[in-house]
């Protein structure tokens, strides 16, 4: 059939691939399949969630703390993420014992750049947590990811998690984003 734009279709497929990667990840986290989630991360992954400051709108330079230099909520690699997973599996990690129920809603997925070996993918998220009888927590923000194209599919190489909070409204961050 004539008239099919092969380049556009190929791009659509890459968009779908990126979306499916993010949705699969969210599903693994919400089903507490943390070891399988770790497998989706590149061995040299960087996982970063900065603090957010109140700054002048006309001079927002210091709105976020800097990766690799400042204090953050998370600024780590796979070694520490793997420790978190091991901790979740001990059965004596009281903050997740009994486990929290989480729902990661991922949306606004944009394939910003798919030219190189790593795609730049942006998304927004709402993270809902229910704990014990009736604790409920809500975090919202967006993510700027780099997804590496490998023979085994996409792998998360870099994640920058930008939450919309100055004073964190919840007691702890025992979950992944």
């Amino acid at each position: 059939m004539s008239g099919v734009d092969n380049a556009a279709v190929a791009r659509l497929l890459r968009v779908r691939e990126a979306e499916e990667f993010l949705y699969r990840e969210a599903g693994l986290l919400d089903r507490r399949e943390f070891t399988a989630w770790l497998d989706l991360l590149a061995d040299d992954v960087r996982y970063f969630m900065p603090l957010r400051r109140n700054v002048p709108s006309l001079a927002p330079g210091e709105e976020w703390t800097r990766e690799g230099q400042d204090i953050a909520w998370f600024d780590e690699g796979k070694d520490v993420l793997a420790m978190r997973v091991t901790q979740l599996h001990t059965g004596v990690h009281w903050a997740e014992e009994p486990p929290s129920r989480t729902c990661h809603l991922v949306s606004n997925v944009l394939l910003v750049d798919d030219h190189g070996p790593e795609w730049e993918v942006h998304s927004h998220f709402v993270f809902y947590r229910s704990r014990m009888e009736r604790e409920t927590d809500l975090l919202a923000g967006r993510r700027e990811d780099r997804l590496r194209v490998t023979q085994n599919g996409l792998r998360l190489a870099h994640r920058r998690i930008l939450i919309d909070h100055n004073v964190l409204p919840i007691k702890n961050l025992t979950n992944f984003f």
């Binding site: 700054v55 400042d70 204090i71 600024d75």
Partner: protein, 437 residues
């Protein structure tokens, strides 16, 4: 009803080591705390590295109230209530920056960096030039600096910071000294963690004052090699093969306290940093310098403590926690992290990464503390629960005026191992200030 009716409800009983649950959950007692404790005591508000240049400012907090820490154009430090004298609007809503003035966004009253009311719109046509500008500057607290730490106090009758700290001052001087006993000072790593903790503000302060008993809280993280020692355990010093005698030091008259570990002579200090060559090399020099300075007393390694009412410090992972009251059932925690100013960049980076993975709401260790304090609070709110005091009697009657070394007590009383001596001192001081002894 008088919130402090001792016949109706004894609140703190230091002789028996009992503390009523009311002091954590009762709204009237909470309101009285704001008046009798947070309006009268010295409170930590920041560090000099946050306000180096004239005009630098950073937001801070004293009790429930927002304050501004400002270095004025002539270089002097000030702490102001962040509230316009006209109608109360916050005069500054940015977390930090550099300014020559603070202009209120409501009606435009404008204050200079010394807190003076400098400009008022419609001064002539509205106020007929009768407003006495000199009387309407920002509300200002007393300020004192100790080794780079900045403290503020609302009450003119409270003794100066040095006298108020008393013998516990040594802990603060030591904390803000660099580990190699050399030149320079600590610097804040940029970014203050702030989060909401659904429990009374005293839970955290009490825990840091001297709770060596709560290892079970950290049973999960202690299975991991979290520290730069490379061995299982959350603390870097867990890897030191020689076991120390833990020291709890309480200052009963002030409510301050400290914790530390006394090691046998010749202990292997450096095994604490064995897995990170840069840290190992840095602490090798640091420990040698420390030994040269302190001699035999270098065997005492401070771990942390609490300065009454709400400032806690951790030496091993150099940080300060402020437990700001935010209602009887809520605490806003602010966490400041420090590194030695002149340490090599790689050392600073490893220390930074260690504190982030250990502490705060995302730290593998303190996540579990937050859960325990939250649910301890929640389970203490009921009518029946409130009838039954907390038990803080561990080691009661076994306090020692002197430790196993003559220099160990540092002006306080000492107990070894696990003990609730420090918490008893903390609540005794609380009761004294509240008029509840």
């Amino acid at each position: 009803m008088d919130p402090i009716d001792l016949k109706a409800r004894p609140l703190v009983d230091p002789q028996r080591g009992l503390v009523s649950r009311e002091i954590f959950v009762d709204a009237q007692l909470y309101a009285a705390e704001q008046e009798r404790i947070f309006a009268t005591q010295w409170l930590f508000v920041g560090h000099v590295s946050q306000v180096r240049r004239p005009g630098d400012f950073v937001v801070s907090r004293m009790g429930e109230e927002p304050v501004l820490l400002v270095r004025d154009v002539d270089g002097a430090l000030h702490v102001f209530l962040n509230s316009c004298r006209h109608r109360g609007m916050q005069v500054c809503r940015y977390d930090q920056g550099n300014a020559t003035e603070f202009a209120c966004p409501y009606h435009g009253w404008t204050f200079d960096t010394k807190g003076r009311l400098a400009a008022v719109p419609a001064l002539r046509e509205g106020y007929f030039s009768e407003l006495e500008l000199a009387r309407w500057g920002l509300v200002e607290a007393r300020v004192a600096e100790l080794k780079g730490s900045i403290w503020a106090c609302w009450d003119a009758a409270t003794p100066g910071l040095d006298e108020w700290l008393g013998d516990a001052r040594v802990w603060i001087e030591e904390f803000f000294g660099v580990p190699d006993a050399g030149a320079g000072e600590l610097e804040l790593i940029a970014g203050v963690q702030k989060w909401t903790l659904p429990c009374n503000w005293k839970f955290g302060a009490e825990n840091f004052s001297g709770d060596n008993y709560h290892n079970v809280s950290h049973a999960s993280v202690d299975q991991l090699a979290l520290s730069p020692s490379g061995k299982a355990g959350r603390h870097q010093y867990d890897a030191i093969p020689q076991k120390p005698a833990l020291q709890n030091i309480a200052y009963a008259t002030t409510g301050h306290s400290g914790r530390g570990a006394l090691y046998p002579p010749g202990f292997d200090f450096l095994s604490a940093y064995a897995a990170v060559p840069q840290l190992h090399a840095y602490y090798q020099r640091a420990y040698a310098a420390r030994e040269a300075q302190l001699g035999e007393q270098a065997r005492f390694v401070p771990h942390g403590g609490t300065i009454f009412p709400n400032m806690s410090f951790s030496n091993g992972r150099t940080s300060i926690a402020l437990w700001h009251p935010a209602g009887p059932e809520s605490c806003e925690v602010w966490r400041y992290y420090f590194v030695p100013q002149h340490a090599p960049a790689a050392v600073k980076d490893h220390l930074r990464r260690y504190v982030i993975r250990y502490q705060g709401p995302s730290g593998l260790t303190e996540e579990d503390d937050m859960e325990n304090w939250n649910l301890a609070h929640r389970a203490s709110r009921g009518t029946i629960a409130r009838r039954h005091p907390y038990h803080l009697a561990m080691g009661l009657g076994h306090e020692m005026a002197a430790g196993r070394e003559p220099w160990i007590a540092r002006g306080g009383t000492v107990m070894e191992g696990v003990s609730e001596q420090n918490q008893r001192g903390y609540y005794r001081r609380w009761a004294e200030l509240m008029g509840a002894l």
